[in-house]
């Protein structure tokens, strides 16, 4: 799976400009899908028909990543920016960003800030693409960019930008590729704009009207020095989400994931996330409600350019989803 993951994370597609990643994912699933369509906001919906006795199930992973967008180019050619999704200013200082035309920018910080010991605000940062004036600057107001870091595999750990949620996309693709028979009508939704408004998952689910929806996304861990306490750890198995800051998993969906994990001897953890949410929060409210849950891949340093997951957790996520899809 490493090559697939590398290909996905190294594609540049921030929320709102998902064409690139959609093309990459499409190429991976085209040959094994029964039907494939792109819905009005740009989410990719892949349909795998079942033998007919099961449920209508959505599996969802978002294909967009966080990034930055130019808000102003000043007289000297420096670009001010705003965030696309949740960008932490601490991860910006000294970072490199890449624009669609491959222009690279370095993020600098105002030295004359009022209070140097406080975390800088995004308004105190700027992007330097090496221009000499506003006129010869190759980037313009409204241009989006993503953080750039190469993918690294070290032991069982995988490190890259956009593991959130390309790792979820990888899990869905691998699940589809390995899936042989299923009684269920399965819709894999690669959604847009999760990092901004959860709009892709919400609208795709409206179109599909499923009986159940499971999002596959990353979650935090509590295993880093002096971090906020949290029960999830890297390498201890995929996490079955009980609750996050905006959503409570439907008990039946949560119990289903736990049951299948136990039956197949797949390690799993239970997750309560204090801050943060996923597409599942939007999917559960569609029409007259969709029982929803989430399978989370433990991830350190979320929303930084170096997100770290464990490949065993990734493999076990695929196994668990196959167990869910292959049983009635």
């Amino acid at each position: 799976m490493k090559d697939l993951i590398r290909k996905l994370v190294e594609t540049h597609s921030p929320s709102g400009t998902e064409e690139n990643i959609r093309a990459v994912i499409r190429a991976e699933v085209e040959s094994v899908a029964d039907e494939l369509r792109v819905d009005p906001l740009g989410s990719l919906v892949v349909h795998k028909r079942g033998s007919g006795d099961g449920q209508r199930i959505v599996l969802d992973a978002h294909m967009d990543e966080i990034g930055v967008m130019v808000t102003h180019v000043d007289e000297k050619g420096f670009a001010r920016f705003t965030s696309i999704g949740g960008v932490n200013p601490l991860t910006c200082v000294g970072a490199r960003v890449a624009f669609a035309d491959r222009t690279v920018g370095v993020i600098g910080i105002e030295e004359k800030r009022e209070n140097n010991s406080k975390i800088p605000k995004l308004e105190q940062l700027y992007i330097d693409v090496g221009a000499t004036s506003g006129d010869d600057c190759p980037v313009h107001v409204g241009d989006p960019a993503v953080f750039t870091r190469p993918f690294v595999a070290q032991g069982t750990r995988l490190i890259a930008k956009a593991m959130d949620d390309r790792i979820g996309c990888a899990v869905l693709i691998e699940t589809l590729v390995r899936l042989t028979d299923t009684p269920h009508d399965v819709f894999l939704v690669f959604s847009v704009q999760e990092e901004t408004t959860l709009s892709g998952a919400r609208t795709s689910t409206y179109g599909i009207e499923p009986d159940m929806a499971i999002a596959v996304d990353v979650t935090r861990t509590g295993d880093r020095p002096e971090c906020h306490p949290m029960a999830v750890e890297l390498g201890k198995g995929p996490a079955v989400k009980v609750k996050d800051s905006r959503m409570i998993s439907h008990p039946a969906v949560r119990d289903l994931l736990v049951r299948r994990a136990k039956e197949a001897d797949i390690p799993y953890q239970l997750e309560v996330l204090e801050r943060g949410t996923t597409d599942a929060a939007a999917m559960q409210l569609v029409r007259s409600g969709v029982p929803s849950g989430c399978l989370s891949i433990p991830c350190r340093y979320i929303h930084s350019p170096s997100e770290m997951v464990d490949e065993r957790d990734v493999e076990n996520s695929v196994r668990l989803l196959l167990e869910v899809l292959q049983s009635a």
Binding site: G16, P40, T71, H72, T82, T196, T197, T203
Partner: protein, 352 residues
């Protein structure tokens, strides 16, 4: 200028009756069907032209939604003190710094009122530096006591700002350009020739308290794409740092690529910018990440609606007196008309 009538009409979120009447009157001869829905939105349909010679004839009919919100920010009476002053809270987002010294009208009878604060002569040292919060301000209608105040302005009565519309030459000033400017643009578009598609115009309510009217209007209309028309922030006043003015007066209609409520559909943005460049219409990209508009609600309707927002730049949009450029207004109407003429189902196809 329809903008004058729209600007001077009152219509605080939830109480859009007066401005709705102006809108209904202005469009009735130019729309094929008009109705008012359960929330008070005005929904008007202008059928597409049946012109088989045009290059766009024969295309599948696309449903195009244009929206502009009729409501403005204001105040609501929530209590009284024993001396007959009215206690108020904001309806929509109001900058409290603007309240001391304003003229208001209260209720359906437009009772005049003022907001003043403790005179400067009586202030202690640091007091003059603090901004009075709305919880500590009162509206004075000259009532003699609590009973009279309660009789004249029962709980829940709306109060609105009062500003006369003025023509200053290249610019005009008045209240509520957010979003009477957008409403005026939409009225002008309805007054013109038919487009080749069915145009669904929504003059929405309650945008300022949470994009409320647009949400139900979009659900009802089920458009294939949507354009929200707005009056937006122009912060081109002198500043210490070389930073974004959000938009600038005189630089043409402002196109939103991304704000706090949604990410615009890039194909619609391209339609607008290509049209502008081809026809030499000035335009600008609004500073991304600022504010929210009806498009934030519309794009979430049902299975999703590709959307974009186009706005007339307005200075002091947050105050009772705003200012916009007549050229910008006319260029906004022009850009919209020309872009819509070039809009076909092909605009909404994707390469992959």
């Amino acid at each position: 200028m329809i903008l004058r009538e729209l600007s001077e009409a009152t219509g605080v979120s939830g109480n859009e009756r007066e401005v709705r009447a102006v809108v209904l009157d202005a469009i009735q001869k130019h729309a094929d069907e008009v109705r008012v829905d359960t929330m008070g939105n005005v929904l008007a349909l202008k059928h597409g032209a049946d012109d088989s010679d045009s290059p766009t004839a024969g295309h599948r009919h696309i449903r195009v939604m244009l929206s502009a919100h009729m409501d403005e920010v204001g105040l609501m009476v929530v209590g009284y003190d024993n001396d007959g002053f009215l206690k108020v809270r904001a309806v929509g987002g109001i900058d409290p710094r603007l309240l001391p010294g304003t003229l208001l009208q209260v209720g359906p009878d437009h009772i005049p009122g003022v907001i003043g604060t403790k005179p400067i002569h009586l202030l202690k040292e640091k007091e003059g530096q603090k901004v009075p919060q709305i919880e500590n301000l009162v509206v004075d209608i000259g009532a003699k006591g609590k009973d009279e105040a309660q009789r004249l302005a029962p709980l829940g009565t709306y109060a609105h700002f009062v500003t006369q519309f003025r023509e200053l030459g290249p610019t005009v000033s008045g209240k509520a350009f957010d979003d009477r400017a957008g409403c005026a643009v939409l009225v002008e578009l309805l007054r013109g020739a038919r487009f080749h598609f069915d145009l669904h115009a929504a003059f929405t309510v309650q945008e300022e308290v949470g994009l409320r009217g647009a949400r139900v209007a979009a659900y009802a209309i089920e458009p294939d794409c949507a354009f929200a028309l707005e009056g937006t922030i122009a912060d081109d006043i002198p500043k210490d740092k070389d930073i974004s003015p959000t938009t600038e007066l005189g630089k043409g209609p402002a196109i939103t690529v991304m704000d706090r409520s949604f990410v615009a559909d890039r194909r619609l943005v391209r339609l607008l910018t290509d049209t502008a460049e081809e026809l030499d219409i000035p335009y600008q990209i609004k500073q991304p990440g600022i504010g929210g508009t009806d498009a934030g609600a519309i794009h979430l309707a049902r299975e999703g609606v590709p959307s974009v927002t186009v706005a007339v730049p307005c200075r002091y949009i947050h105050s009772p007196v705003a200012l916009l450029s007549v050229d910008d207004f006319n260029n906004t109407v022009r850009l919209m008309r020309e872009s819509l003429s070039r809009l076909t189902p092909h605009t909404l196809t994707r390469r992959q």
